[in-house]
């Protein structure tokens, strides 16, 4: 199935990515104190466009996003070795930040999970990554709008005080988002490729949605049905990952006991925003 995706995304038509020996440095090097890096980054500007430097941050999320990312089996090796430079991330590259190893500069920080206001480490990491990253992406619905962590109310082990989990845009400026619970492997691949190709048109909706912290199943009623927009097409119910949404008499009906507040319904609804030009381009129409 990825053959088609690869073709769609233009994989294989970019041999020039490989002729870039300079960036084959060990990512760990980046994590060490390195005063000389500032000068280097000047010359590296051109290459950045070809091979973005990526950081992966895991706050309060279920690891669904990184699993989804790694589900791009066929293209993952290509992405990680030749298309992006992962300079930060515990799982992907075994690099993290402490007092001896300052956080590296990066083009894009992917942040998974909401942030817990009582967790000083998460707060520190979030504020620091905002300083080091050119773009911050709320990766997955927890980071974007809180999603499932919106139900948290503390009083549990391992730390009963951890009770307030908020979207990262409540605390720092967020540039773009990849919502979903989890964000699908395909949207991750498509977005990474768009970023590499500098295709900002494709990423525009992700930027527009960056600070949207609404979007649970109940919001569908107020932002679509109550606004005379719903046509009963069923796209919201298709997008719902928990089958909280069903269609009744041509309108979505949300079972609040199942809804995880991921907002997939509102994101997918063709009446909340509609990328007509991109669709026609993709279809060749």
């Amino acid at each position: 199935m990825f053959e088609k995706l690869k073709k769609l995304l233009g994989f294989g038509s970019k041999p020039k990515i490989k002729e870039n020996p300079k960036i084959k440095e060990n990512p760990k090097v980046e994590a060490k104190p390195n005063e000389a890096r500032k000068e280097e980054s000047q010359q590296g500007v051109e290459k950045v466009a070809e091979k973005p430097r990526l950081g992966y941050f895991h706050l309060s999320g279920c690891t669904g996003e990184i699993m989804s990312l790694s589900e791009n089996y066929d293209i993952l090796a290509e992405i990680l070795t030749n298309m992006v430079d992962v300079v930060y991330g515990q799982t992907l590259v075994d690099v993290w930040w402490d007092d001896e190893n300052p956080m590296p500069e990066m083009d894009l920080a992917l942040v998974e999970g909401s942030v817990c206001l009582q967790d000083e480490h998460s707060l520190k990491e979030l504020y620091e990554l905002r300083k080091k990253a050119k773009l911050v992406c709320a990766f997955g619905s927890c980071a974007k709008n809180g999603c499932f962590t919106r139900f948290c109310r503390g009083g549990q082990q391992a730390q009963p005080k951890h009770e307030s989990f908020v979207p990262i845009s409540d605390l720092v400026k967020v540039d773009l988002t990849l919502p979903g619970c989890p964000a699908s492997p395909e949207i991750i691949a498509k977005s990474v490729v768009a970023l590499i190709n500098g295709d900002m048109d494709y990423l525009q909706p992700m930027m527009d949605l960056a600070t949207c912290s609404l979007n649970c199943g109940c919001d569908l009623q107020t932002i679509v049905v109550n606004k005379a927009l719903c046509t009963g097409c069923g796209t919201c119910a298709m997008a719902c990952p928990t089958r909280a949404l069903t269609m009744n008499q041509g309108r979505p009906e949300c079972n609040k006991n199942r809804c995880v507040k991921c907002g997939s319904c509102s994101i997918h609804c063709p009446r909340t925003w509609f990328p007509e030009d991109r669709i026609k381009q993709d279809l060749g129409l």
Partner: protein, 281 residues
């Protein structure tokens, strides 16, 4: 372009008598989906299947031609087929799915294919979408109003509903009932009023009665994939065709209706924007 981008416009109907008997017009949707199924272009199709209540369809994942034929005929109310695409892929385990969709449903499907945010491994499994021309869609209660109150008939007695020649028709065993189309205005769902797409411009192939003689359909082949499937179905003898310019009333009326829908939508959008309401188009 008033009819969207298309490669071919042609007048066509299914040759199979069992399809002709039950189809709304030319039976193109039924014939194309059955053909795609038989040729293993798709493994199943999501269609607006029958339920115990007449004209109250529900999405059906059809795995045989018989099931597809059971869904033939237009129902003028909701069947959220897009919803069942996930059912077809996840529960039925289909790798290649086809469906029939009205313009708003196509917008949902195509948006999901271009931006598959939370639909893991679904977008690429949708292999063939037949679009149907659509001016508007009615809540079921509106249909009851037409049939029960305005025509003094009943849903149970109604065998077929149709819109054409300026009228809304309901056929029973004994009678042909109708009301002027004007009387249905105001009963369509409000969401339709901002829709600018009459001819399912984002489909692989779109079809509908307008422009073609009785018992035939107008077919617009749009994508490479759609044209290829339609052409092969014609070659296989499942669909017969006539050149569009040889039939009455022809493409002109389709263009007129399509243009009319666009103009009305633009007016409504303007009105809503003035009221400060959100409009995605």
């Amino acid at each position: 372009m008033v009819l969207g981008t298309y490669k071919d416009a042609i007048c066509a109907r299914a040759t199979d008598k069992s399809i002709q008997k039950v189809s709304q017009d030319g039976g193109i949707v039924t014939a194309l989906l059955s053909y795609a199924l038989d040729e293993k272009i798709i493994e199943g199709a999501v269609v607006a299947g029958p339920t115990e209540e007449m004209f109250k369809p529900e999405p059906l994942v059809a795995l045989t031609s018989d099931e597809i034929i059971s869904a033939a005929g237009t129902k003028y109310t909701f069947s959220p087929n897009v919803w069942a695409l996930k059912l077809a892929v996840r529960q039925y385990g289909l790798e290649k799915v086809g469906t029939v969709a009205i313009p708003c449903q196509l917008m949902g499907i195509r948006k999901m294919q271009s931006y598959p945010f939370s639909t893991r491994f679904l977008a690429d499994k949708i292999k063939f979408v037949v679009g149907i021309f659509c001016m508007e869609n009615f809540p079921y209660a509106s249909l009851e109003t037409f049939i029960n109150e305005k025509m003094h008939s009943s849903m149970d007695m109604t065998l077929k509903m149709d819109i054409g020649k300026g009228k809304f028709w309901a056929y029973t065993d004994e009678e042909e009932l109708s009301i002027p189309l004007k009387e249905t205005h105001g009963y369509e769902q409000a969401g339709c009023n901002i829709c600018k797409d009459y001819t399912a411009e984002l489909s692989d192939v779109s079809t509908g009665s307008v422009g073609a003689p009785d018992g035939w359909s107008t077919v617009l082949s749009r994508t490479e994939n759609g044209k290829s499937i339609f052409d092969k179905a014609v070659e296989a003898g499942l669909i017969e065709t006539k050149p569009m310019d040889s039939v009455k009333p022809g493409l002109g009326i389709l263009e007129k209706l399509s243009d009319g829908k666009k103009t009305k939508a633009v007016d409504e959008i303007k009105k809503r924007v003035e009221m400060g309401l959100p409009v995605p188009f």
